[in-house]
């Protein structure tokens, strides 16, 4: 993931983007963990809340792939459908981890 490209696209400088991404990773990480737990527990209502929150945050930062995946999951769990979401949630986790890795590359902590 090229963070500079993303920064240019949404009109933030790289440092601002980094700060925003840190916030996103913190709240988004919680949302993702809640989503995974809710799907494992078969709790569609909680899954929906988590995917909805993740969708909103990713959308505002222009994180398109995470936004699309969260939206696709949200469209299902909102209707109480949890079947067939596993693959999408795994992909979402991979995208999230890639973002963490990209951020750590610039700012190793």
């Amino acid at each position: 993931m090229k963070l500079q490209e993303l920064a240019d696209r949404i009109g933030l400088d790289i440092q601002e983007l980094q700060e925003m991404l840190e916030i996103f990773l913190s709240s988004g990480g919680e949302d993702l963990a809640r989503l995974e737990a809710a799907i494992a527990a078969g709790d569609a209502q909680r899954a929906h809340e988590a995917s909805h929150s993740l969708k909103g945050s990713a959308g505002s930062l222009g994180l398109d792939r995470i936004f699309e995946l969260a939206k696709a999951i949200d469209d299902k769990d909102r209707q109480g459908i949890l079947d067939g979401l596993d693959a999408m949630v795994r992909e979402l986790r991979a995208e999230y981890d890639a973002l963490v890795a990209a951020l750590r590359q610039i700012d190793p902590r």
Partner: protein, 372 residues
């Protein structure tokens, strides 16, 4: 614009908006929920407030009403920033904010905020709402969800029971119109206040004890509390709100029992009066017969005595028998323990003294024989 308050339960959105404002030289205070926003607004003045509409507990709609009704914030501009800006357009318009911005990806959001700021520089408060919705389209599903939410709001609003919602610190987060009437306060005066502290000290202790009790329960629990003060009687029903085994708040349903109690007392009094009136009828009816016999025999006694008749003793005995009968009646009157009636002809109902009197004849008043 110098001072701004940014309110959203999504920290990322708060930071994004704060960053845009700070770049314009505006000092930003951040609030991550409705209650936190209220506590800032009660202490400070702001030139502009950016409000998210949908937040858990206290939503942006109520914060907006608070600002609009508060003389302290007469100069404050309100900008609603919402993910449901398009779908909730009519509801937002009712709130009369100065501007409304749809939540969107950062570049669009930034452009819309900057546009709004420059627009508000030239417009007075109370002018038509400025809307910035570029790049956003209404969604049917959101409209339906909002409709459902308004439906439930309408139900709560029409309840005659006062409904109050508290968070885990016992802060009021919701009051329906009946609760506002009962408390004699406006919604914005109540929200964010500690529920316990509204009561007189001794009652506050009772309320706190119930709330502490209910908070420790991990399953659904309801506790009823009846409070008497200021010549009124209230019933409070506390129920914990549990989510995943965690206590997340309490709902309190309050009923003013004073009117109901007064009606009950009135009805009881009316019943007693009816009983008394019918009892008077029964007494007159039952006493009439022996009195007729007594007066007849007294007349005959007088006539026989004038003639020097031997029937004197028999007549005197009859009189005594009738007096005894009257004595029995008065004994029954004093033993009435229930309310039994019988028809007495001509659609008149009187008390059935024999059925209404206590069987063991307690409270007997003995009539002493005149001759004993």
């Amino acid at each position: 614009m110098e001072k701004a308050l940014v309110v959203d339960n999504d920290k990322l959105i708060v930071e994004l908006i704060a960053g845009i404002l700070e770049a314009q030289g505006i000092a930003v205070t951040r609030a991550y929920g409705g209650l936190e926003a209220l506590s800032f607004l009660k202490q400070e003045n702001f030139d502009i407030v950016f409000l998210d509409l949908v937040m858990p507990r206290v939503g942006g709609d109520r914060i907006c009403k608070f600002i609009k009704q508060s003389p302290r914030h007469a100069q404050t501009r309100v900008v609603i920033v919402s993910a449901v800006a398009l779908e909730a357009e009519s509801k937002i318009a009712e709130l009369k904010p100065d501007a409304c911005i749809a939540k969107a990806a950062y570049p669009v959001l930034k452009e819309n905020i900057e546009k709004t700021l420059s627009f508000l520089q030239t417009k007075k408060r109370g002018d038509n709402m400025f809307s910035a919705h570029e790049g956003v389209f209404p969604r049917q599903i959101v409209k339906e969800l909002l409709f459902a939410q308004r439906h439930f709001e309408a139900i709560l609003n029409s309840l005659c029971e006062a409904v109050i919602e508290l968070d885990t610190d016992h802060m009021v987060t919701y009051v329906n119109p009946s609760a506002q009437t009962l408390l004699g306060k406006q919604e914005w005066e109540v929200i964010g206040r500690n529920f316990v502290e509204g009561f007189p000290p001794d009652k506050a202790q009772e309320v706190r004890a119930v709330l502490d009790d209910i908070m420790t329960s991990h399953t659904k629990k309801t506790i009823e509390l009846v409070l008497n003060y200021s010549d009124r009687e209230y019933s409070l029903s506390f129920t914990n709100v549990i989510r995943d085994g965690e206590h997340i708040g309490t709902t309190v349903v309050v009923n003013d029992l004073t009117e109901k109690r007064m009606l009950e007392q009135e009805r009881a009094l009316r019943e007693r009066l009816t009983g008394v009136i019918e009892m008077a009828g029964a007494a007159a009816h039952e006493l009439n017969q022996p009195l007729t016999v007594i007066s007849g025999h007294a007349e005959l006694l007088l006539r026989d005595a004038e003639r020097g008749d031997q029937n004197l003793v028999r007549r005197a005995k009859t009189i005594l028998e009738q007096v005894e009968r009257l004595g029995n009646l008065t004994r029954k009157f004093t033993s009435i323990v229930s309310y039994k009636t019988k028809e007495c002809g001509g659609n008149i109902t009187i008390v059935d003294i024999d059925r209404a009197a206590r069987a063991d004849g307690a409270n007997t008043i003995k009539i002493k024989g005149l001759w004993e």
